[in-house]
Amino acid sequence: MPRNRFTEKLAKVLNSNPFKGFFKLNRLRPPGAVKEDIFMELCIRCARCIVVCPYGSIHRADVYEKLQIGTPYIFADKKACYLCMKCPPVCPTGALDPKLSSPENVRIGIAVINQETCLNYLYYEEEIEGVSKGYAQLCNTCNNVCPFTDEAIYMEKHILPVVTDKCTGCGICVEKCPTTPKSINVYPTGMGVKAQAGFYNRKQNFTGENTTEGTLHGDELIKQKQKINSYGAKPDFEYNLETYESRDEWQEQ
């Protein structure tokens, strides 16, 4: 059967349940939540997690969350989860894992820093270039407010915040980030993070080539992927070494 853009879209809708699996940036499930599609099956919208949340972080989804209406959500940019771990044991159906009791094992998302707007990255850029654009202020907020300071977020070279895989996705850094729009965002578990996508994806972004991946299948797709090579792409090592063809001082006589 010939494939075109329309059949691709149709297949995308039919191959996955179109009624669940919606993700949005900074919109998280309560801690201990099972995988999103199983969560939607198990959650009976009883609102007990909302009841016990002492900070009022968990909200009941409204109509603009489609069929998820009534299910619990944490909107990290408004009020984050403070990992008090009161909600997992009260869930009657196991949509929140009742055995989860330690906050460091929570994985409801992962924070990703936008290096183009983060004040520290901008500061560092100015410092290197030696030209001020008016961003010269240092901000340590995300590192300071993180419940796992120097584990989930650490400061590289004492200035650049970097998120590690110990990030629980609680979203406190998002709530407190002083920039607008937020320079740090939490991707809920299950939502694809472009910054962490594989090499194929990165190459696509890097070269901007329009791939035909969407319409290829099976062997054709494998062939297409095999064509990719990294020849000519500059490796992004931490300390780039510049190699010189010749050096004045060391010319062999």
Partner: protein, 266 residues
């Protein structure tokens, strides 16, 4: 004392409880917590059987907590009939208020006349609706029948109002359902309510039911005229429709002289 007085007291107390419980929870008293989908009293778990069944059915996962929370509502249902609907459900109270509002406004009587085929027709509609709802729920894989479960929505909206001071869209669903009560007599409870239909499947013949204990009554038919689910309480007390509200017992004039119709356990 009239049964209706007791019933109204229970209803008003339930209505008060759905606001008091979240208020207590805001003060971090978690002895009673939850909504009418699922509620904890101390360590005793109670849940809406349909809600739990849906989540079992959709996910294929069963845990001990789910089973434990089913015990009390189903035991109540088996021994006392569908008293949840008429004695506690907040939506039933609102529907009764809408009916009396209609009477006060002077609209003409819109109560359908009882005929013998009425209960079986109603049965067909409500079980078909529940069945279709469960099929839709199975296909989508989301417990969607909870979106039209009126008591759960009302109590969870009360919680949201007390805790956050706003309401969500689900309240509109209940208001729309309630609005049509003005035109169709108790249509939601009689034909559609999935929670009530699912509960009535657990009716046990030897549980509490209305029964005529005397053969010779004056045949005034006032019990039939007062029945909110349009059945004949004299013969169909064990019907799946009966929710043991006791309106027929209050309406019976013979009861003043000699016990004619009353709740019995067999």
């Amino acid at each position: 004392m009239k049964i209706k007085t007791m019933r109204r007291t229970a209803q008003i107390l339930t209505l008060a409880a759905i606001f008091i419980i979240p208020f207590m929870n805001v003060w971090e008293l978690y002895f009673v917590k939850g909504t009418f989908y699922s509620m904890d009293i101390g360590n005793v778990a109670i849940a809406d059987p349909l809600a739990v069944f849906q989540s079992m059915f959709a996910s294929g996962k069963i845990n001990a907590y789910m089973i434990a929370s089913l015990i009390i509502p189903i035991a109540l249902m088996i021994f006392f009939g569908r008293i949840w609907c008429s004695w506690f459900c907040p939506y039933y109270l609102f529907a009764e208020w809408v009916e009396s509002l209609r009477r006060k406004l002077g609209f003409r009587d819109f109560r359908p006349e009882y005929t013998k085929t009425m209960p079986s027709r109603a049965s067909r509609v409500r079980f078909l609706f529940l069945f279709l709802g469960l099929i839709v729920m199975g296909v989508i894989g989301v417990p969607v029948l909870n979106l039209i479960s009126a008591p759960g929505i009302i109590s969870s909206q009360a919680l949201v109002v007390v805790k956050f001071g706003y309401v969500t869209f689900e309240l509109a669903i209940v208001l729309v359902i309630l609005f049509f009560e003005l035109f169709y007599f108790r249509y939601w409870c009689r034909f559609f309510c999935p929670t009530g239909t699912f509960l009535s499947m657990f009716r046990w013949k030897r549980g509490m039911a209305v029964q005529k204990v005397r053969n010779d009554c004056s045949k005034c038919h006032s019990c039939i005229k007062s029945c909110p689910v349009i059945i004949n309480p004299m013969t169909e007390g064990e019907s799946l429709h009966c929710n043991n509200c006791g309106d027929c017992i209050d309406a019976c004039q013979d009861n003043l002289n000699k016990q004619t119709i009353k709740f019995t356990f067999k």
